[in-house]
């Protein structure tokens, strides 16, 4: 399924609920555009809900890393919540748990933003 994302706000935090696959092509492009638009709109607290993302490839992982850096360079924070097992395993084996702030649930994620 092509990646889809819907944005909502919880206070200052922009939460994007994604569903589908984050892979080379439309998926990773959609992810990139959605988050970059938020950063360019001045949003500094961004939470990506990946509960319905059942697949990500190395291009998708690279995209997430790039967006993490973009948010940080804009003095913002980008966090992840609700990783499926496969996405969790990929983040783990690529050592990206040392990079990403992955929260166990939305409430904890909201509290964790500075």
């Amino acid at each position: 399924m092509a990646l889809q994302g819907t944005c909502r706000d919880v206070g200052e935090i922009a939460i994007v609920d994604f569903s589908g696959r984050i892979t080379l092509g439309e998926g990773s492009a959609m992810l990139r555009k959605t988050v970059r638009d938020l950063i360019e709109a001045g949003r500094r607290k961004i939470l990506l809900n990946l509960a319905d993302v059942d697949y990500i490839d190395s291009s998708g992982i690279g995209e997430l890393v790039g967006l993490y850096t973009s948010a940080r360079n804009a003095s913002g924070e980008l966090k992840l919540v609700y990783l499926t097992k496969r996405v969790h395993d990929l983040i783990q084996i690529t050592r990206l748990f040392t990079v990403f702030d992955v929260q166990p649930d939305e409430a904890a994620a909201v509290r964790s933003f500075r």
Partner: protein, 149 residues
């Protein structure tokens, strides 16, 4: 007597759609071979990464070039070849994506994932000088040791 090798060969266009196609083909073949659901997923992902490499780096998105995907079944292993028409590369030249200085790179994890999801990965020189990525996976209930090819 050595049993005959079963072989499937697919010529793919150098286009993004070929990545999904190759992944789906391998997953169906792996399912038919009796691999577990988890291994089917891993094989699909490994081939996806290999075809992405062939598309992006080997063939540099040149639509005039082709990607050759071959699956062979030997006595106890499945061997996948992904051959591009580029100029080849050495695995030793691929940076380690797990190194601290590389963690924030936005690319460079494909080879690592191919290795993680298969039993063995090597790169040979293809017939036209491009890369021949060779991945193998022991067939179900026949694990242990390196692949022979």
């Amino acid at each position: 007597m050595v049993p005959p090798t079963q072989r499937l060969e697919v010529t793919l266009n150098t286009e993004l759609e070929s990545v999904d196609l190759a992944e789906n083909i391998i997953m169906r073949v792996a399912e038919a071979a009796g691999f577990s659901e988890d291994d089917v997923h891993k094989l699909g992902m490994a081939v996806r990464e290999g075809v992405v490499n062939a598309y992006n780096y080997g063939n540099a998105q040149d639509r005039q070039k082709k990607i050759l995907l071959t699956v062979e079944f030997e006595q106890d292993q499945m061997v996948v070849h992904i051959v591009d028409e580029g100029s080849g590369f050495d695995l030793e030249d691929v940076a380690d994506p797990l190194a601290e200085e590389n963690l924030l790179r936005t690319s460079g994890r494909g080879i690592f994932l191919m290795r993680a999801f298969t039993d063995d990965l090597t790169v040979r020189r293809g017939p036209t000088g491009g890369a021949d990525l060779v991945m193998c996976k022991k067939l179900p209930d026949r694990r242990g040791g390196n692949c022979r090819f």
